[in-house]
Amino acid sequence: MKKFINNNDDFLKESLTGFGKAHSDIINVNLDPSFVSRKNKTKDGKVSLISGGGSGHEPMHGGFVGHGMLDAACPGFVFSAPTPDQMQAAAEHVDSGAGVLFIVKNYSGDIMNFQMGAEMYSGKNDSIVTNDDVAVEDSTFTTGRRGVAATVLVEKIVGSLAEHGGSLEECKKLGEKVNKNAGTMGVAFTSCTVPAAGKPTFDIGDDEMEFGVGIHGEPGRKREKIQASKTIVGNILEAILDNLKPEKNEKNLLFVNGMGGTPLTELYLVYEDACQILQSKGIQVTKSLVGNYCTSLEMQGASITLLKCDDEILKHWDSPVHTAAMRWGM
């Protein structure tokens, strides 16, 4: 394992402290229990949005705390759900009287810990669960689909509504709509190495890819020989389109997300391939996002998310945002 690391026990604390210093104009980092919150207190009467999850997906979620997006984020250990006391402390810190909306990715550990945090928090709160990964089937026989990159879009769009005075119920409703309108699928070329493990999570050949990989390096649909970008992108889009079935006149946001180890040069190439394929199918791409937003440590690979947009979603996507990892309009 080659990583910038001093000792494993301090890995997360040191990284969080550095994050706090680097973005001291936007956020504060609280340790023990760990949570990232906005530097300026949430204005009275604004619904507070709190997300969180295992670390290793940076900039998600701490990088999305700030104006127009989250009020707080609770980082767990690498790839491990955060603990209920973190959610409780973060909620107590940021709630300005309008209630708290927890945004949770659909993983058993996250669901349980957020539920316990919500039970321990005495203020008004509700939660939404994201499950945009079309790689795994949503059936009564599974925990359901995984929550992955579209969580970024949910946080941005609901963050804007909360900033514009939306109520807890309205924020939840919009979040659920965005989640329902989004589909994601990823592919990995290499594994990632959890610092505590010291070795790669899975073995993969030089000429292989994991199709439908999860954001922790969990196996996906199948292991295949690597192919040309256009073929890979075409297969990913086919799975997403099968699921989302966008109408020809519908507007869409196309989000190409890097897993951490793939350069932007390749991500833009993926974006170009995806645009061409979608255009050939008569599907409109109106908005774009390309970059490393929901990563899996140093994994090489990318995910593609398509979000069907109505006017409400478009308005809240375009509105100003100022966080460590996403900034426009202000």
Binding site: F77, A81, T83, P84, M112, M116, T142, H216
Partner: protein, 208 residues
Amino acid sequence: MSVSFLISQAKSVQKVIDENSAEIEVLDQKIGDGDHIFNIQRGLKLVVELEDSIKDLPLAKALNMIAMKVLSGIGGSSGALFGTFFMTMAKSPDLDKDVDFNKACEMIISGIKAMKERGKADVGEKTMMDVLIPVSEKLNELKNESEFKSGLNEVIKIAEERMLSTKDMLATKGRASFLGERAKGHIDPGARSSQLIIDTICKSVINN
């Protein structure tokens, strides 16, 4: 059950889990995401380190401190589930009186029931509950028996059988559930760690 019993069991379990950590890590990497063993090891270390702060406390308070430590120090599914287990045990009535075998069984049974509700998982879903629920049922049969030591041998056997039975299951809960058929052929890491914990504690009770 006493505070000193809890501390000595935590130490024995820590030793056994450490000895088997490589196996559990590999199981989790096959069908999960590799964090289970680190969470369990971190939790056991934190509980063992509590010794000085809890050794003179009443049982209910000690259990509560263990629950809070587990809940805030582990993370992941294991933290929530084992935190729920200890929190529920701490809420048992009459903990200021002597806790005999019968009472200890009742506490463990209620703890496992709370874990089942928290995780919304039942037998047959390829999780630690595949081991814990049958063990809880067996303890329910045993709790009123004065000669319980031979019964504990059956508990050990049930835990092992049920742990092995997860190998051919299709996961429907937890992170392995996303894999469908590909999770088959691997023992669930949570079932294995739970079985090791039960095995260690039962053997220690039988031998004392």
